[in-house]
Amino acid sequence: MTSKELLSVTSQIGMMLLENGAEIYRVEDSVVRIAEAYGYKQGERFEIFAIPPTIIITVQNEDGTPLTIQRNTKTRVNNLDRVDRLNNLSRFICSEKPNFATVNNYISQIKKRKTYPFYAVVISYAVIGATFALFFGGGWRESIAGGVIAAIICLIEKAVTKVRPSVFFMSLLCSLFTATAAVLCYYFGLTTEYDSIIIGAAMTLVPGVTITNCMRDFIAGDFIAGLYTLIEALLVATGMAVGAAFAISTLTKLLGI
């Protein structure tokens, strides 16, 4: 594999790992191991720098000139199946050292892998809302309300993602909707309380991958990435709290609950 081909392969794999919710340690480790499998030792002919929004890879050419590629992540989603597949691919590359065409073929296969259909995701949101409403002390009425609201949250997220909102705005909007709908359910006598509905439906907004990645980044010593993800998680949490607080305080005053 030539240095240009190596650059192409490693940047593609690193990018995909970053965009699908892998922690920084995994991105750097996979890429370094692939490079070392082809004889490009880290620190001598190969360097990588990755933070959540950016990845920079430098390879030394056969005649000693450095080649660098920098790529910025556009969208970040949580697709852990893809992370798992890429992980397997990099393990396969390390043991078999396949040629460039083979690796590219595998990468495009991973890109083509199906995700769960949208209706399944909507149902999963509904299930999360319904079970967590029960979990946090609601009855069956609250559970149904939580499920319906959570399903609508999924539709809102899908619709709003197109305009590329900030993470803060997204969680603010969703939590505003959650609290408004829950308080209205209570006001019209559909449920006996609204606390468990709000907590249950809002659990769908909890940035689980971000929080876990944040802690694992800190442990691995990637403090810049850890701070980045920590701030992201805090912003989401703040958005949730502000949205719900605004809706509850306004509506309870307006409706006189």
Binding site: R26, L80, V83, V121, F132, F136, G208, M215, R216, A245
Partner: protein, 151 residues
Amino acid sequence: MNVLNDLVLPALYSFIASIAFGIQFNIRFRHIIAAAVGGVISQVIFNAAELGGSSEALCYFFATCAISVYSEFLARRLHVPVNMYLVVAIIPLVPGKLIYQAMIALINGETQSFADQCTAAFAAAGAIAMGIFAISSIARVFRVVIRKKGI
């Protein structure tokens, strides 16, 4: 003590919700079940620690340690990223109720109650973080040792 309400139902809810989160994170089905078992373990350990008289933060710590060990072990055996199990299992532990009550206290102007709930929520979040920190750090050391020995 009510066995059904205190032990069985939270574990069941946690199991179902974990499966749904697995779909949200696009994890394949056989891994989803394994991850959801992690969600059950977290609730069982949490409630057991609570019955044993541990403080709330300690309950969170024990539960997180348990699922971290479970995830690290399973991930090494099945050669998958640890995150796949850890992320799903940790979500039912998120102290949503404490944060919500803190927010309600804040908008009602109950400063003392707000401070209490906030402290409890931060203690819970810190305990969860410490649980992951402790186990993941130990797992990292093991990984390095295993690689050095070339096993």
